[in-house]
Symmetry: C2
Subunit: 418 residues, 2 copies
């Protein structure tokens, strides 16, 4: 069978399964996820054996240590996957909730009911845990899912997907609701991106290159998340201790992730007090600073920031620093260089806090909190299928509710239009 | 200036204006719309004079009478545009509304705040009234708008857009928040569809050809609305009088629009009673029927329906009729041939009504009501920017709220992540 026919068949089977899933009870969906968790735990040996095939191939190819680490399945990582499925199985089912039924003058009752999107395509790179995490969220929200993982993790993904399908069948749900694309060449991705009659949404998870490739070639709506150039703005009325603690946590706690701080903006009115103190803590944590001319005058010895630094997502222990005139200047900088991910203001001034919240239109806007809280779990979504930094459909971290949409429902008693 | 540079400049100006609009007060936005309404009413002579240039050119080209009608601006149509702007100016402003702030275990308060999408591109055909209607909805929801109307209505559109810009300026808002693309060739559309860094959403309004062209060439999310193949299902426990009245209203009241009835599905258990009666009323209204074999046995003389008829959006006094085994069969037919627009069940049975509402996942699902209510105004949105028959972002008729999105807001007191 050609790749084209293969993807066509998978897509049609997914669409048929999605019609079934859309009406499945919360109980059946939860049960499927719990079955999956049990299967993963009971088959750790199989999973690690299959995973070691991937690891051997990866070592032969000479991939980086970081990638090798992401690829590795251990007992504890399998437990984390299983726990994730259990947590998602306990989330409230968004499907079928009805909001705001109101009565029209002619007596019609009009409201909106949540329904699944239908079929979700997930295109991802090395991490095999995405296979279970993404499938759990899609199933719980009543969607079928087509998983297309990277070639490096194909043995691990196949083993995991097989167990997920068993979990569905044991709960009386169609196994085609979770399908792994068996071929790993790019042609399969391109074919998926053309199946607009069956696939409702594409979520790419991986580097900027993957996301651009997917969004430039897709006929299907794509959730985009290019990068996270997050800012903390220290207002002139900031509490200095809170400021230091928030900057340190935002930058240092886990520098390699998208919600880590990349550029620190400091109001000129507090820079003389704040910058030397925070620079000392950052130096102790081995963070390299790159500053504007004015901040370099306060912090002798730090490197000069170039235009590139204001755009940079370092994902490392490096931080750009800029002194700004005031909040207007800070907001203008965020608009020009930000990635619409997460920005936080540190201030004790009520009006400044409210203005920042109103006027900064990134997907997550914070007052006096670490940017590291910008994550589905931390924000109370239970679990996260991805982050959207474009405004259509969802903006920011996405949970099960974001994998649904609302249809209108109209309850009448024979009304006709005049 | 080349078309490319032209569109680039318009897009960048729109983006700058959108940042201003996003923080504009409801009062300023309402005032702008009221100013626009006054200007339209005060300049009826100018508008009809410019419109007559379009009409002369159109007559020379020999366009259809229907299109000529859509193109014509009369005093009463200008009044309707002005009234539309006044109605939209009175709608509640969705921007800045905060929903569901909840407290996380660590004390962080997390909620969502509505913000405008940014810049909306409207691509439309002959109707000059879209210029004012779309601009009003975009401005009220805090967005800038780029309007690209068809060449047939260019003089009318330019005159209207000029008045709209005056209305903005009088209210202290930037006139670049409403811009009309001055060139009318397709290159301008293609250029717009590439400006993903400035334009957040494209709404095409026109025939299926236009919508396909736009969605196949766009890097920007597109609201799609291909067609409306709407169904009424007469359940075996339907009230026959209500059924006749709903079928007649859905089909005959305005057959040329997307929410008109196109296929009637009748449960076999009631077909013998129902079909001959409804056929009589339909015949009186000069509706031509095309039926399945079984319905033709009950209604001698009607044409045979082909596969094409089940797919057809007639937009005319023609109706396809099919007898189905039961609700499962009706739902299967709707899934196979429907366009996800609007479906209505006529029944007095509670369980059947609830099942139809749950299991039919079209954008508007009704019980005992005419499909003609599937319209933003009738459903209580105040006014409609368009209809989406795909599930991403919005599904069904879209009003001002659908021109916004939600960002996360996080109110902390110095929290950092453990």
């Amino acid at each position: 069978m050609s790749v084209k026919e293969d993807i066509a068949q998978i897509s049609r089977a997914a669409k048929a399964a999605s019609n079934y899933l859309a009406s499945a009870s919360s109980t059946a969906k939860s049960e499927a996820l719990l079955n999956m968790a049990v299967s993963l735990m009971e088959n750790q040996d199989v999973l690690t054996a299959e995973n070691s095939k991937d690891l051997d191939a990866a070592r032969e190819k000479g991939i980086s240590r970081a990638m090798l680490d992401r690829l590795t399945l251990t007992g504890s990582r399998i437990t984390t996957m299983a726990d994730g499925l259990r947590e998602v199985s306990a989330l409230p089912d968004p499907v079928g909730t009805i909001a705001n039924i109101s009565r029209r003058p002619n007596g019609l009752q009009v409201g909106k009911m949540r329904i699944p999107l239908g079929v979700i395509g997930i295109i991802y790179e090395a991490r095999p845990n995405v296979t279970a995490d993404a499938a759990g969220l899609c199933i719980m929200s009543g969607n079928a899912v087509i998983l297309r993982g990277g070639s490096e993790s194909i043995h691990s993904n196949r083993a995991i997907a097989k167990l997920l399908q068993e979990g569905l069948e044991k709960a009386g749900l169609p196994k085609e609701a979770v399908q792994l694309v068996p071929t790993t060449d790019r042609e399969a991705v391109l074919e998926m991106l053309q199946r607009e009659d069956e696939i409702d949404l594409i979520i790419p998870r991986g580097g900027e290159g993957l996301i651009r490739f997917v969004s430039e070639n897709s006929r299907i709506p794509v959730i985009k998340h290019y990068k996270g150039v997050c800012h903390v703005f220290i207002d002139k009325e900031a509490d200095i201790e809170k400021g230091i603690s928030i900057v340190m946590n935002s930058k240092v706690q886990r520098p390699g992730v998208c919600n880590a701080l990349e550029t620190l903006l400091v109001d000129r009115g507090i820079a003389g007090d704040f910058l030397p103190k925070v620079a000392k803590s950052l130096a102790n944590a081995k963070v390299e600073l790159r500053g504007c001319a004015e901040s370099r005058a306060l912090l002798p010895g730090i490197k000069e920031a170039t235009e590139e630094d204001w755009h940079a997502e370092y994902l490392d222990l490096t931080l750009a620093v800029k002194i700004v005139d005031n909040m207007d200047d800070a907001i203008a900088h965020i608009r020009q260089y930000g990635s619409l991910h997460t920005e936080s203001i540190v201030t004790d001034n009520y009006s400044q806090a409210m203005r920042f919240i109103r006027e900064v239109n990134s997907s997550v806007v914070m007052v006096n909190a670490s940017t590291r809280f910008s994550d589905g779990n931390q924000l109370g979504l239970g679990a996260e299928i991805g982050i959207s930094t474009t405004k259509l459909h969802s903006f920011g971290p996405m949970g099960v509710v974001d994998l649904t949409t609302e249809k209108f429902i109209v309850l009448g008693e024979g009304q006709i239009r005049e």
